[in-house]
């Protein structure tokens, strides 16, 4: 029998396949490499940020700062390369150091001050957005040769679709995330903390280092996401990526990770991203529906997944109780 651990993941997979089949039945054009390429390219920044969010949620936390961090990255790169004249590669390295330190600081505050992650990262969200506004309030274009190179880097798939550089970055981040979550000590520690902090501590899991690592990783990936976003739009804008953190959380939950932590898969988040992208694509293909339907459908999906997760927990507990009663 398949463990209930896998059930949310399989449900998402089934939903994606079914939804895609329905879309193709109505719009045969949706079965094209263009649409597949677009799903990867258009959701690259969201997907990368969602990998970081997966680790945060697996540990039972939350990170509300990533949308603001993405906007900050774009403005920092645009102003850095333009106004300050920093070479592109140096600007990118500098940026990643800054945002990783930012995430580590948030992680340290959460652990050592025993503050809820919600509050600390909410403060981080305002701070990062504020810093972006401080650098520039206008939409600043990025004109670096490096960006032109990266933008024109793509594989042409048969049928005219493009597997772009940023799409490939997202795939690489997902593969890296899977290895990190399921094949390393850090990954095991994240699951342990998410399951139960006290028992993790008793088992000798370095809770402080892991918590700091989780938020540093989330901000680092938000930084990568911000770079990808700036390549995507070739501009930095302090009002960009508002609410991306909420989309990322939605993708993680639709992907079958349980919000209370301890259970879920990075691969599920990838499916969550694809499902959300598919809904948006369908609405544009239809062309008469209000775009707010995207939010409505994602909302309904979220509800049903939360109910499913609750039901699973309830079901396993009952089975465990029944087994205990049988023993007695």
């Amino acid at each position: 029998m398949i463990g209930s651990r896998y059930l949310p993941l399989l449900t998402t997979l089934a939903i994606f396949i079914l939804a895609y089949a329905l879309c193709i039945a109505q719009f045969p054009n949706m079965l094209s490499t263009r649409v597949l390429g677009n799903l990867l390219t258009d959701n690259a920044f969201l997907g990368i940020a969602a990998v970081g969010m997966t680790f945060v949620i697996l540990s039972g936390g939350i990170d509300l700062s990533i949308g603001s961090v993405i906007a900050f990255c774009g403005v920092f790169l645009a102003v850095g390369m333009g106004e300050w004249g920093i070479p592109p590669v140096l600007a990118i390295v500098l940026l990643l150091v800054i945002v990783t330190a930012f995430g580590a600081t948030m992680g340290a505050m959460i652990h050592y001050l025993a503050m809820p992650a919600f509050i600390v990262t909410l403060a981080g969200m305002f701070f990062a957005r504020g810093m972006a506004f401080l650098l520039s309030t206008a939409s600043v274009p990025i004109n670096a040769p490096l960006y032109d190179t990266l933008q024109s880097l793509y594989f042409r798939m048969p049928g005219g679709g493009r597997l772009t550089f940023i799409g490939m970055v997202m795939l690489a981040v997902f593969i890296g995330g899977m290895i990190l979550a399921h094949r390393t000590r850090f990954g095991r520690n994240v699951y342990a903390i998410g399951g139960n902090v006290q028992s993790a501590e008793l088992m000798g899991v370095p809770v402080a280092a892991t918590t700091i690592g989780i938020y540093a990783l989330s901000s680092f990936l938000a930084g990568i996401s911000g770079i990808v976003f700036s390549i995507y739009t070739s501009a930095g804008y302090s009002l960009a990526a508002v609410g991306v953190e909420l989309d990322a959380i939605a993708a993680v939950v639709i992907g079958g990770t349980i919000l209370t932590g301890g259970s879920g898969f990075v691969a599920g988040t990838f499916l969550g991203i694809l499902v959300m992208g598919l809904i948006q694509t369908y609405i544009v293909f239809d062309g008469t529906l209000s775009s707010w339907w995207t939010k409505i459908v994602i909302g309904l999906l979220l509800f049903s997944f939360i109910v499913l997760q609750r039901g699973l927990v309830w079901f396993t507990e009952r089975r465990a109780n029944a087994a205990a009663a049988a023993h007695a």
Partner: protein
């Protein structure tokens, strides 16, 4: 005779079929910014109406003020294989890549009501109004209206630093430059809002001898003019007679004011950007006629003589 009739009928039918076939062949994707203002809602309504009249299959995508949503929508339009794309860009930068993809797929893109920072071979044409010209039309109307009489004008500016505020001021000043009898005596921002328009007008009235020294009001948009009209009435003067009122935009409420004789003239910022865009696209599709890179929409002047109530009735259901 009968043969002739049948022939004519057949020809007419064939003609009808080719025109409908031509129009029905066209699928156009429209990426709209959002519905943040009444004017934009009216633009969306009119675009849908225009498409329906021409038998164009319009795919509408509302971006909820986000550029990433607009880029996604354009990519989906390309994947879908639409015949043309209309884009009302939310910001000026960051369009090069996606427009190159559209160009590669040989899908013409027409920009609506705003322009972008990109090489102009990436789009077919841009349909926008000329803000300076709008101010010019307003100033010209005032100059014609007052003739040689001395006229002190107060000006309600738009949001400081915004391009409509800068350009509409410039256009108006150009129009009255040759008329020494017309002078702007006071000019302040009313932030494009009704309440600020009223407040600032109150201070103008106080400063100018209770309004007796003011001959005309020029407001950068109708909303501020509507607020100012209220202030003029409260000061015991007759707007439209004691103080002439001219403004820009042509929203429904100003037509009501004109019908009541409280406003004198407005210059239309037409929400029908799609009409000229579809005209250009139809010609381009028919025989490859390249339109000019910039199609300027008409800045039509409406006065009390233009049956304002009728225009109000036409406009009130557009979603302003």
């Amino acid at each position: 005779m009968r043969i002739l009739k049948t022939l004519v009928g057949a020809a007419a039918l064939a003609g009808l079929m080719t025109t409908t076939a031509l129009a029905a062949d066209m699928t156009v994707g429209f990426s709209q910014i959002g519905s943040e203002s009444g004017w934009r809602a009216a633009e969306t309504t009119l675009t849908k109406q225009q498409a329906e009249e021409r038998g164009i299959d319009l795919k509408f995508a509302d971006a909820q003020q986000k550029q990433e949503n607009q880029i996604k929508a354009i990519r989906s339009f390309i994947a879908q294989g639409v015949d043309a794309i209309l884009l009302a860009p939310v910001v000026a930068t960051g369009w090069d890549q996606v427009l190159e993809e559209a160009k590669e797929a040989e899908i013409p893109v027409v920009l609506l009501d705003r322009t972008i920072d990109a090489p102009d071979d990436l789009y077919l044409t841009a349909v926008t109004s000329d803000l300076v010209h709008e101010g010019n039309v307003a100033g010209q109307w005032l100059a014609d209206k007052v003739g040689d009489e001395q006229c002190n004008v107060v000006e309600l500016q738009g949001t400081t630093g915004s391009s409509p505020a800068i350009d509409r001021k410039k256009g108006f000043e150009q129009a009255i430059a040759d008329h020494d009898n017309i002078k702007i005596v006071r000019s302040q921002t009313g932030d494009f809002t009704r309440t600020k328009g009223k407040e600032v007008m109150e201070s103008f009235l106080k400063a100018e001898n209770g309004g007796k020294d003011i001959c005309a009001l020029y407001a950068h948009n109708d909303d501020m003019a509507v607020g100012a009209i209220q202030a003029i009435k409260e000061a015991g003067l007759k707007p439209g007679e004691d103080i002439l009122v001219v403004s820009i935009d042509a929203v429904p409420d100003i037509f009501q004011a004109m019908a009541n004789g409280e406003a004198n003239a407005t210059v239309e910022l037409t929400p029908n950007m799609a009409g000229p865009a579809f005209d250009a696209l139809e010609k381009y599709k028919a025989d490859g006629t390249e339109p000019p890179k910039w199609i300027q929409t008409e800045s039509k002047l409406y006065t009390q003589a233009d049956d304002p109530m009728k225009v109000y009735e036409e406009k009130k259901n557009l979603g302003y």
